[in-house]
């Protein structure tokens, strides 16, 4: 178990994965651990603590050289980051204190709690070093093109209200849980960046990785099959002066955050056995349930894989092994404004070609490859996010919150999306490489703008 954990982690600690590592584990930055309170992340925190923070002499043998973990800490600073999602649900307990208690048992580890609505909180974003949000992008999810408008500063709503409007506008339970998963992951990535971490570790076990792979593929995420297992992520909408100051202090790494799942070869049962032997307290993760909502694709996949594993025990390892042999096909056109993963080229053209949604396209002519519609967000987001925002269920989902809390309509996007759009309007590079000035943008989107 510990061997599998180290085999999945240590080759990726050094900046160059192929270099000698037994005697020189030298990450370029700090470490952030994404902690949910579930089994996988509890085991992960324990293993990291035993190997790299407070070495357990029964596990860390006398082998190795000068830089072995027993002599020097691999990561100078370790931060455990917890994203509390209770405000996304009508009745859910805030477990931050409970989690804090568990984390504080590990000496030499910092605790960083985040609320899911911080994704929409401009103050949190700027405090963490994100580029200023000059205006807020509001989208209309009822339209498949996802038209957007840029609203001025004054119109900014509270982060909680923005979150609830966002999730109340999502069309299916599948979209809800996928959106929360995506927000959580990106929040963790930015938290890792802002704590100067070169590595972000997540507690996905072999079983949960197999579930997330199948679930992602079932939601159109085939292009991201590699990112589901491991990814190298770069923060590109952070303040340059913050980077410069850190660089001057000799802290800035100048690289990205490597997102690793070190338990990817360890099954859920092995994790459970470890937790039992080590007497770990697993507080568990609250079930993501919305009253009256149907079961989403994530939960269906989890139940299906669990059932299949009883008759075909090798299923989970086969899924992970098979997906490890796959690579994305085709080019990318930038980074998704919402989930920050690559946008495959031609998504909208593909969708238009395989299903006719209007009589406008001549039936006997090939579907034209149009240039990106600048009034629409669709060309700037990936297939999964577009599907999450627009793909409807057979019946409308029940309302999640009382109408006054979040009224679906024009919906805010997370701070990083706003910052990225601001970069586009501020003279930076947009996803398509074209610079769009604010007056031009306003002219394009004026029909969607609300009165000042």
């Amino acid at each position: 178990m510990t061997w599998k954990f180290r085999r999945s982690l240590e080759p990726h600690i050094n900046a160059k994965p192929d270099g000698p590592r037994r005697t020189a584990l030298k990450p370029t930055g700090n470490l952030t651990i994404g902690f949910s309170g579930g089994l996988g992340s509890t085991v992960l925190l324990d293993l990291v603590n035993r190997y790299y923070v407070s070495p357990d002499k029964s596990l860390v043998t006398a082998e190795g050289g000068r830089d072995h973990p027993r002599n020097e800490r691999v990561w100078k600073k370790v931060t455990v980051c917890y994203v509390e999602v209770c405000d996304a649900f009508p009745e859910m307990k805030d477990r931050t204190d409970e989690i804090r208690e568990i984390v504080q048992k590990c000496e030499g580890v910092d605790f960083l709690p985040i609320h899911i609505q911080d994704a929409f909180d401009r103050a949190w974003w700027e405090k963490m070093g994100g580029k200023p949000v000059l205006s807020q992008v509001k989208i209309d999810m009822a339209n498949e093109n996802i038209p957007f408008s840029m609203l001025s500063d004054e119109s900014l709503s509270s982060s909680l209200s923005a979150l609830r409007t966002y999730i109340a506008s999502l069309p299916t339970p599948t979209a809800l849980s996928n959106a929360l998963r995506s927000l959580t992951r990106v929040l963790l990535q930015y938290a890792a960046h802002f704590t100067d971490s070169s590595h972000l570790l997540l507690g996905a076990s072999l079983t949960s990785l197999a579930v997330s792979l199948i679930s992602s593929i079932s939601q159109g995420g085939g292009f991201h099959v590699r990112e589901e297992a491991q990814e190298e992520w770069f923060a590109d909408v952070v303040q340059e002066h913050a980077e410069d100051s850190r660089h001057k202090k000799g802290k800035w790494r100048g690289g990205g955050v490597r997102v690793i799942r070190p338990l990817r070869d360890v099954g859920m049962k092995e994790c459970a056995a470890w937790a039992w032997w080590m007497q770990l307290r697993v507080v568990g993760r609250e079930k993501w349930r919305w009253p009256g909502a149907k079961v989403g694709i994530g939960k269906l996949t989890k139940d299906f894989i669990a059932g299949l594993e009883k008759d075909y025990p090798s299923t989970v390892s086969t899924i992970v092994r098979t997906c490890g042999k796959l690579a994305p096909k085709g080019g990318t056109v930038g980074k998704c404004l919402i989930c920050e993963r690559p946008v495959p080229e031609g998504v909208q053209e593909w969708k238009a070609r395989i299903s006719i949604r209007s009589h406008e396209t001549p039936s006997d002519a090939p579907v034209p490859l149009t240039s990106p519609d600048l009034t629409s967000l669709a060309p700037f987001i990936c297939y999964v996010c577009h599907t999450t925002l627009t793909s409807k269920g057979t019946r409308a989902a029940p309302p999640l919150f009382p109408p006054e809390v979040g009224t679906p309509g024009m919906v805010s996007l997370p701070s990083w999306s706003n910052a990225r759009m601001s970069v586009s309007t501020d003279g930076g590079e947009s996803n398509t490489g074209r610079r769009i000035r604010e007056p031009e943008m306003r002219e394009i989107v004026k029909e969607y703008l609300l009165d000042d």
Binding site: I217, T322, P328, P366, T387
Partner: protein, 353 residues
Amino acid sequence: MPPRNCALCNTARAILKRPKTGQQICKECFFYVFETEVHNTITEARLFNPGDKVAIGASGGKDSTVLAYVMKALNDRYQYGLELFLLSIDEGITGYRDDSLETVKRNQQQYDIPLKILSYDELYGWTMDAIVSQVGKKNNCTFCGVFRRQALDRGAAMLNVDHIVTGHNADDIAETVLMNIMRGDIARLGRCTSICTQGEDTIKRSKPFKYAYEKEIVMYAYFKKLDYFSTECIYSPDAYRGHARVFLKDLEAARPSAIIDIIHSGEAFEITDEVKATQKVQQTCKRCGYMSSNELCKACTLLEGLERGMATSAITDRARKRLDAEGPGPDNLRTIPYFQRGNTAPSSQVANG
């Protein structure tokens, strides 16, 4: 609730909700979008050339019945210039295939397309009834699948056609993507979303319904009042595929776009170059001349097992070793006729409508 207008023409009353898009549309617009999407699939992939001879794999079920109707309609409307045939395989399943073949014969009359029926019995010397009596119900789908694929190619070669089109729909493809991932069948995963496959020396094989939802095919047949035969095979279905199918139906119920999303996933990834380099090179079966990744093709291996009374020899490693230990088969072993394009043997019937 008052009746809604069609989301496409905005004039007629909407009578159905498209599973694929969720749009509420009228019957005429449904026919238009369904047929035009198939046409777009065909033209985008440049499947045919004018003058091509195309065999439609016809089982009498909903997919192939609708495919025959739509292919004929599109061929006439857009002047593809294709010469169409119906090609049916008779697996020899009493009470199942003999009934569905009656439907195909009616289709032949209705659409005025020539029909060819080729049976397992005349090609392999075995019917599925006989195979099941020897192997039981557990693994019989392996025999049927392998034999059908080769039989279609051989039937097409007898008709001297360039191309076979089959009624595989979006649900079938999505299900196959999931199955191949879960079973670790990386070779099939790499090609299962291709609209057109062509082995060396074999006939092109395409799936014009690749993006058509099964439910929409049924809707089309229903509104067009097409005559099709519907029943489950009387021999037990593939258990693993059954699990995948149920799962897919659950996904579709949760979010109807799941089917097309899985196909998009399958098209958005490919096998890494390192893995491709380790895959077996395609060769020709030394016994029957059909494409194969081993010395003997799967059909010949299965047939040899049947003939020698060790039917599971191509399915389990242990049975294969037992067969090998017994040495080469007798000289009078029945084998599959040598495969050649344009071959006319064994004796067959081509009925003209």
